[in-house]
């Protein structure tokens, strides 16, 4: 952090005052500098690069993201040794700047629907790439619009008259030296978006564009010179990368929500408004119950997600050893779990960031609060790397599969092992969860059991509804579609259970008594707030009684008052530097108003005392009317 903060080369004007083109330019400038400095300091460890990078760009996207994050790794994992010789060093040295072009204008999460074609011509030993329709134009890849001179393009491979499915090809798109697009290539920027101003997300259209046979990434599947297609060995391996990227999004959910909480809670301690007691000065808005009710559950959530992100990363690292040795047995569950958790955490964080912004009243809406920026940067993660509803349904597929296994007498392991209990309970005549033991609302371990019972009930209900639909409908797909709202609910309940469980498990690892005490309160708040927001599920399943729900609601409010005392300390612990937070409202020193004024003076509209539109429009109008 200090390396970057103290480096004058990385300083620049507040991004809020720059146009999109200027922001892109700043980002490129810093990226270019960053690459030089990384080499200069000899930083090569991926984790260190990640921190350096996130500090240079202050957690914002940058045009080389796809080059560093997708282009280079894909070369490493999917290129043959010969291809690595040809492409890797030039790419490492940024002679080649690449991106990863998968999504098309008409096709996203459903990969098999992509339309771009790569047809093999044995006569010249080339692939002919085409974008046959408007919908097949590559659309969205970062760095594609203006920055990259190469792209890894995913296309349907045709050889010997047959379609062999999606494969990856290295396609040069701009002339080295002049950076002009090559003949047959149409490339450009897709225009302004909701955030991501510094990123040149691009489009790419190819018309009979030829590349040599050796440009297909052939570590796994191959096309021989005569056009013979050689199949890859296993396709499960791609799961690994997806798990990894989705685990990063879970971590990002935690971080983005933590930043928003830091800003909103600090500002709520500085802002005074109205009166609580007649005759007394205006209180800090953090003393209002409604304000605490908005912010503290989110604070607890930020902590919860932090632990979940760490858990997935650790699990991934633990089992990726097994994967390298060919043991893929744990991968399906982890894959299913991360899909759901990616959706659950990004949805929750997305809504939570907005809640934090609104909790800052009018000033939250100003870009100086920093929260609008956090929001627009974060919110696309609900869509990219797998649209959230589709992710929830993937988790549901795994849950239903596990449930079916249990019903047919097999046992399941891992996070879904609670389903094993269902078969035992089925001997009992009454409703599945109705006989669940008494829940103690002050004991996190007992609350984990309550969440477990809710997940079991909703998974069972969804699976039964699915079966009922299957008995009525013609196709599996139709039945699945007609149950999908239930299935998503089941997945959500499962993820919620996993999060409460992981948070609770974390408490035992904390050695400092005071820290453990406050985190136990946060954990309770997280679990109880979740119940109070989903009382219907717990009531309907008979897990909790009306009276207990009333107690839960009451206990939530007591916890708010307890956490109030430590709220600022709890966000200080996230340890965000002011520069990284980028917020006038969330400053560590709390000098909000003076600095808002200083900030506003720099607005482009304030560059001249009298704006030119006065002479152009106002004055003539006044003269005429």
């Amino acid at each position: 952090e200090a390396l970057v903060l103290n480096d004058p080369d990385f300083q620049h004007e507040d991004l809020n005052f720059l146009s999109r083109s200027q922001r892109y330019e700043q980002a490129i400038r810093k990226s270019a500098l960053m690459v030089m400095k990384l080499r200069e300091y000899g930083i090569a460890d991926p984790e260190e690069i990640y921190w350096f990078k996130s500090f240079v760009h202050r957690g914002r996207p940058e045009p080389l993201d796809l080059h560093l994050g997708m282009f280079l790794p894909t070369l490493l994992t999917q290129a043959t040794p010969e291809q690595q010789d040809r492409f890797f060093m030039p790419a490492w040295n940024l002679e080649i700047i690449g991106t990863y072009a998968q999504t098309e204008m008409g096709h996203g999460t459903h990969l098999r629907g992509l339309e771009t074609t790569a047809t093999y011509d044995p006569a010249t030993q080339e692939f002919i790439l085409n974008s046959p329709t408007v919908t097949s134009i590559k659309w969205w890849p970062g760095g594609l619009g203006k920055t990259s001179n190469h792209a890894i393009v995913l296309a349907q491979l045709y050889t010997q008259g047959q379609c062999k499915g999606l494969h990856a090809f290295i396609v040069p798109i701009r002339q080295l030296g002049t950076h002009e697009p090559l003949p047959g290539i149409t490339v450009g920027d897709i225009g302004p978006k909701f955030g991501y101003d510094e990123m040149d997300n691009g489009y790419l259209k190819m018309d009979n564009f030829r590349i040599p046979r050796e440009n297909m990434l052939m570590k796994y599947a191959q096309v021989e010179p005569d056009g013979t297609y050689v199949k890859p060995l296993s396709d499960k391996l791609t799961y690994g990368t997806m798990v990894f990227i989705r685990s990063l999004i879970v971590g990002d959910s935690a971080r983005s929500l933590s930043r928003a909480c830091t800003i909103a809670i600090r500002y709520s301690a500085v802002r005074h408004q109205s009166e609580l007691k007649p005759g007394e000065p205006e209180p800090q808005i953090l003393d209002y119950q409604t304000q605490q009710y908005k912010l503290f559950p989110l604070l607890a959530t930020a902590y919860a997600f932090h632990f979940v992100g760490a858990y997935i990363k650790d699990t991934y690292h633990r089992i990726s050893g097994d994967i390298n040795e060919g043991d893929l047995s744990e991968l399906p569950e982890l894959h299913a779990l991360t899909a759901g958790l990616k959706a659950f955490t990004s949805w929750t964080a997305n809504a939570g960031i907005e809640e934090c912004r609104m909790a800052c009243g009018g000033h939250g809406y100003s870009r100086c609060s920093g929260i609008p920026d956090i929001y627009v940067t974060f919110t696309p993660s609900c869509t990219y790397e797998g649209e959230n509803t589709v992710m929830m349904l993937q988790t549901a597929r795994f849950l239903v599969k596990s449930y079916t296994q249990v019903s047919s007498g097999q046992r399941v392991t891992g996070m879904v092992s609670y389903l094993n209990d269902l078969s035992r309970q089925r001997i009992q005549p009454q409703h599945v969860a109705a006989r669940t033991v008494t829940v103690r609302i002050n004991d996190p371990v007992s609350l984990v059991e309550a969440y477990k019972a809710r997940a079991a009930r909703l998974v069972e209900a969804a699976a039964k509804n699915l079966q009922a639909e299957l008995n009525h409908r013609k196709t599996k797909e139709d039945a699945w579609n007609r149950t999908s709202v239930d299935l998503v609910r089941a997945s959500e309940a499962h993820c919620h259970y996993v999060i409460v469980k992981l948070f609770t498990a974390k408490l035992a690892e904390i050695s400092n008594a005071a820290v453990r005490a406050i985190l136990t309160e946060l954990c309770l708040l997280y679990a109880l707030y979740g119940i109070s927001k989903n009382t219907g599920d717990f009531l309907q399943a008979g897990i909790l009684t009306d009276a207990q729900i009333t107690q839960v609601n009451q206990r939530v409010k007591e916890l708010l008052a307890i956490i109030r005392r430590n709220a600022v300390a709890l966000v200080d612990s996230f340890d965000f530097h002011d520069v990284h937070l980028g917020s006038v409202l969330g400053r560590y020193d709390g000098n909000v108003y003076e600095n808002m004024f200083e900030w506003a003076k720099k607005s482009p509209l304030n560059k001249t005392e009298v704006h030119e539109s006065f002479h152009k429009h106002l004055k003539p109008m006044q003269a005429k009317l």
Partner: protein, 659 residues
């Protein structure tokens, strides 16, 4: 040409779109008038929004000023006037993308708060744009709570002037629209001091810029507050006053006056001030909340009929995403909500008109109810519409995030409505205060305003539904909503009482119940919305299938509300677990039914392509062509990357020396 996927949606409509449109407008004549106004505005190139998504803050501001100036000319040309029937459609047609909205607030506050002499002096100047006004209430450190404002106005008897000051930084006026760059005058709200005594907040007309060269007046520091999430076209401003003197006549004095010797005189009722707030809150519901939600639904639903993704049946073409239950679950409840809130707006307008007539007859009895309803509905409707627009945005996959979809701008604009004209939580608490008061009155047999008589008539018993079809009876669900509202209001009132009886101070007890109070206020508004929807449907004379589809939408709105708040209906067993499963089943059935009419139902909102300004939502469904064409207009594509020569080229070519 029409995208066949969208064309097929329109062939199967169960009702006449045109008939529904005219019914929504309030008659064929209204529809004709609206279309004429929209057409006149949209065919005028000055009002074009074509480049909006590519413009900088400075360019947006300039365009907004240009449009505002041009609109004056246009109105003269067309013979439209401020109080003519066309006026309400003008704002819809320019899509809010115009300057000087605060100038109108300036004029309104002079008319409402000024004496006859003051009106005679200022209104002609303002309507001739010889001055440009703004309205400066909010300060850097103070918002919804007006008594906390810190700006001071001290009366100086010797010069017969008020001396205005910004005593500290948190007292700086902050946020007023049109004030950063445009306004020459503004109404400043300040604490009035006469002979050392504070008389509270009063309005003063203050000149801030020269009428000759637009430079700032002495003692004035003003400017733009910097970039926001939206409203780039508005110069929201700051204002600092340093010993600024204004003549005694500049205090707006219809209700209070400082006489030459410093005597403070109060006259008339100040209740009228509440009426102003009420009128603003009601008027923003339609334009700032419901219309944006209708637009977002139009864009997202049309796009969902065009976008195909994955397969529902093996061997078939990829399915329209609108055919997925999860997609219907996201969008169709928002569509139902847009209709529900359109009707609640009619309800509030009617109530308001009646209240206005009463007040003109000096009868202020309806004011508390009107104030409570306008606060609560402003809070509830803006919040629901905001989350609805966001759901629409996220339901459009990646393309929703492109500004060219139109959805990000709708979203960043509508979210501001949750804060301005009263922060929503505070407004809902105002409604709650009214409800608690009425509940107490009702339980001791006193009479209460019509909208809350149900509090006295609460019936015991449980939901009588026996199968899922029973939940399509409006009586069944309306009573469930009523039951929940009564339960939440009465249990909160009881808790308040308990706390107070146990020795907790009143204000403290109130703060400890605020989470429940907000919930109770929302339940009340939700109940009224459902009830009003039911009554609206009942009033439709059977025509062209409209009643049937509106009844379906009404059922959907009501059952979605239960489905997404199961806990409050299950609590105390009013609805049983088994009945809740019936609600879910009926709700999911309705999604599939309304799915068939989804596109015609958004077509009926009758937005032109220009007013949607969306590459995804246009009437013909040519989504991808339009997205591609519009992207090419982006300034980033008009030149070679500026960064290439400066940064990329050295990086690409100097590798040997540097790496």
């Amino acid at each position: 040409s029409m995208n066949p996927d969208l064309a097929s949606e329109r062939q199967t409509a169960s009702f006449s779109v045109e008939k529904l449109t005219t019914w929504l407008d309030g008659g064929a004549e209204q529809t004709r008038l609206r279309r004429a106004v929209v057409e006149a505005i949209e065919c005028d190139p000055v009002f074009s929004r074509e480049d909006q998504y590519f413009q900088s803050q400075n360019e947006r501001y300039e365009a907004a000023v240009r449009k505002a100036v041009h609109l004056q000319k246009k109105m003269q040309e067309m013979g439209w006037s401020e109080d003519g029937p066309e006026f309400k459609y003008i704002y819809r047609a320019v899509a809010g993308d115009i300057a000087f909205l605060l100038h109108r607030v300036f004029m309104r506050s002079v008319s409402m708060l000024g004496s006859d002499e003051q009106i005679a002096k200022w209104i002609p100047l303002a309507s001739q744009y010889q001055l440009i006004g703004s309205y400066a209430q909010t300060e850097l450190g103070h918002g919804t709570y007006l008594q906390g404002l810190e700006t001071t106005a001290v009366f100086d008897v010797t010069t017969q002037e008020f001396i205005l000051n910004t005593p500290k930084i948190s007292a700086m006026k902050w946020w007023p629209g049109d004030m950063g760059r445009s306004a020459t005058h503004t109404v400043v709200f300040a604490q009035l001091y006469v002979h050392g005594k504070c008389y509270g907040i009063h309005p003063f007309i203050v000149q801030i810029r020269s009428l000759q060269d637009h430079s700032l007046c002495p003692g004035i520091i003003a400017g733009d507050i910097g970039p926001k999430m939206n409203f780039e076209h508005i110069d929201n401003g700051y204002l600092m006053l340093q010993n600024v003197r204004v003549p005694r006549e500049n205090m707006l004095n219809k209700f209070c006056e400082v006489q030459p010797d410093g005597t403070y005189v109060r006259r008339g009722s100040q209740k009228i001030n509440y009426f102003t707030m009420t009128s603003v809150r009601i008027s923003l519901i339609s334009g700032e909340a419901v219309l944006p939600l209708m637009k977002a639904c139009t864009i997202a639903i049309r796009y969902s009929a065009v976008r195909r993704q994955s397969k529902l049946k093996p061997g078939e073409q990829e399915a329209k995403i609108l055919d997925y239950q999860t997609q219907q679950e996201k969008l169709l409840p928002q569509l139902a909500a847009a209709y529900a809130f359109h009707f609640i707006n009619d309800y509030l307008q009617e109530l308001f008109d009646r209240g206005y007539r009463d007040i003109q007859r000096k009868n202020f009895d309806t004011l508390p109810e009107l104030h409570a309803l306008s606060s609560g509905f402003k809070g509830m409707v803006t919040q629901c519409c905001t989350s609805g627009v966001e759901i629409c945005l996220r339901a459009c996959g990646g393309h929703g995030y492109s500004l060219l979809s139109g959805l990000p701008s709708l979203y960043t604009k509508i979210i501001a409505s949750c804060i301005y004209e009263g922060e929503n939580t505070i407004l809902l608490l105002q409604t709650a205060r009214f409800l608690i008061k009425c509940f107490m009155a009702a339980s001791t047999g006193q009479s209460v305003p019509p909208s809350v008589t149900y509090l006295a008539a609460a019936k015991p018993g449980n939901c009588p539904a026996k199968n899922k079809l029973d939940f399509l009876h409006p009586d069944i669900y309306t009573e469930a909503y009523q039951h929940v509202a009564v339960r939440l209001i009465s249990s909160t009132a009881a808790k308040l009482q308990d706390l107070i009886q146990s020795g907790v101070k009143k204000h403290d007890a109130w703060n400890r119940c605020t989470v429940q109070l907000v919930q109770a206020a929302k339940a009340h508004c939700h109940y009224i919305t459902v009830k009003n929807f039911v009554e609206t449907v009942e009033k439709i004379e059977t025509k062209a299938g409209i009643q049937k589809v509106m009844k379906d939408l009404c059922d959907l709105f009501a059952l979605y509300g239960i489905f997404s708040n199961t806990g409050v209906f299950l609590h105390d067993g009013y609805i049983s677990g088994a009945q809740m499963d019936m609600v879910t089943a009926s709700y999911l059935d309705l999604l599939a039914i309304i799915r068939k009419d989804a596109v015609p139902l958004v077509d009926a909102f009758d937005f032109t392509d220009k007013s949607l300004n969306s590459a995804l939502g246009s009437y013909d469904g040519q989504v991808y062509q339009r997205l591609y064409e519009w992207a090419q207009k982006s300034p980033t594509n008009k030149q070679i990357s500026p960064a290439y020569g400066k940064y990329l080229k050295p990086l690409l070519h100097n590798r040997l020396s540097k790496l």
